[in-house]
Subunit: 225 residues, 2 copies
């Protein structure tokens, strides 16, 4: 918690950037919230829990995960600084649909959903920013559902590489961790690794220690099926 | 369009209920929007389109659909009166992730995302209501992704029946259309039909012309895997 206290200037500016609000509104949020850290691998929220708090990510990385029929981990959502999960007010505590797990040590601000709603009611930019964040997440979730339905495991790996690559340089820096990438698209490390090796062999991507580069974006596109 | 004009009192009260706003705010939205109807089976938005408008459902029913590898239709989202889809402002037009198709004749209000954002900025209740709607949809999408990953086709049919049943009476009235139910959970009509027949044979549900009733909710729960 000391982390957040000493870095509260950082928290304030993160809140301002996230919600497009001024420092006074950010301070209202900080005043209504409590800081809490979670160790790496800690379960922040359990699937099935009924919670009445919103969690605002200040530092670290977390994941919403579900498990496949074979017991494999599937990532439903990724949360980074500036992201929000948990409850958003409305009709009482909301049942959580996935475990949320700290991938790296997480610092968060926890705020009662009702208190956040009161602030949002007063300051239109908050609800608007929340809506945009949630709309983006909903699009991502739909794209993942689509890919899970329409693409082979190999195709999903390639779609993920295309998403990760910088739009201008077509490079991924630092290179993705294959195990991570596999979990995100719901396949095994072996399948992901084989799919990536095939791309390299065909000269579609080039791998170095510092980055991967897509050399033939159109051929990558054609391999997404 | 005449439909909406003559029913504008109805539209106003629908907007008030949806956004928890007063009539004056609802009128601002109506004044900034244009009414548009879509025939049954019309494609309202195409996957891949970049659109800058938000669509507010006034009457009818629409679906966000994607296609599986085998070409089967999969429903990603359902939209009914009071629901919203399309763009929500932010950084220019948003690429649509699914086709949105009218299941029944749709009456909608179309409003530029930027205009809606301006109203939401002014009136905190709008953004807050939008956030809650989107959070609910995001939860549903995650649950569907989870079910698609963790449950058999039969289990998904049973989970859908549980969702459709009234919490108190445990009945589904009117009875679901099996083809519809199958599409929603991403399976064939035949599989859904077989799964439902098995429930009836085992005395877990009872079907009549006017409604279906879950007689043994705990045994239904146990069959969801």
């Amino acid at each position: 918690m000391a982390d957040i206290a000493t870095a509260s200037g950082g928290v304030e500016s993160l809140l301002c950037r996230t919600f497009g609000c001024d420092g006074a509104v950010a301070h209202k949020i900080i005043a209504a919230a409590r800081a809490r850290d979670f160790d790496e691998e800690a379960v922040i929220v359990h699937r099935g829990d009924h919670i009445a708090d919103a969690f605002f990510m200040v530092m670290g990385q977390a994941r919403g995960v579900v498990y496949s029929r074979e017991g494999a981990l599937v990532v439903a959502q990724e949360y980074r600084p500036g992201d929000l999960f948990g409850a958003l007010g409305g009709d009482g505590p909301a049942e959580q649909e996935a475990d949320i797990v700290a991938v790296r040590k997480v610092s968060s601000l926890i705020i009662e959903a009702a208190a956040l709603a009161t602030i949002a009611q007063r300051h239109g930019e908050i609800g608007l920013a929340l809506s945009r964040m949630l709309m983006t997440r909903l699009r991502e979730a739909t794209v993942r559902l689509y890919e899970r339905t329409a693409l082979s495991a190999q195709g999903r790996v390639y779609a993920e590489l295309r998403r990760l690559a910088d739009g201008d340089t077509l490079s991924i820096r630092p290179p993705p961790i294959v195990t991570d990438l596999a979990v995100r698209v719901g396949t095994t490390r072996e399948t992901a690794s084989r799919a990536i090796n095939a791309l390299e062999r065909r000269g579609i991507i080039e791998r170095s220690d510092g980055s991967w580069t897509i050399l033939a974006p159109r051929r990558l596109e054609e391999a997404i099926y």
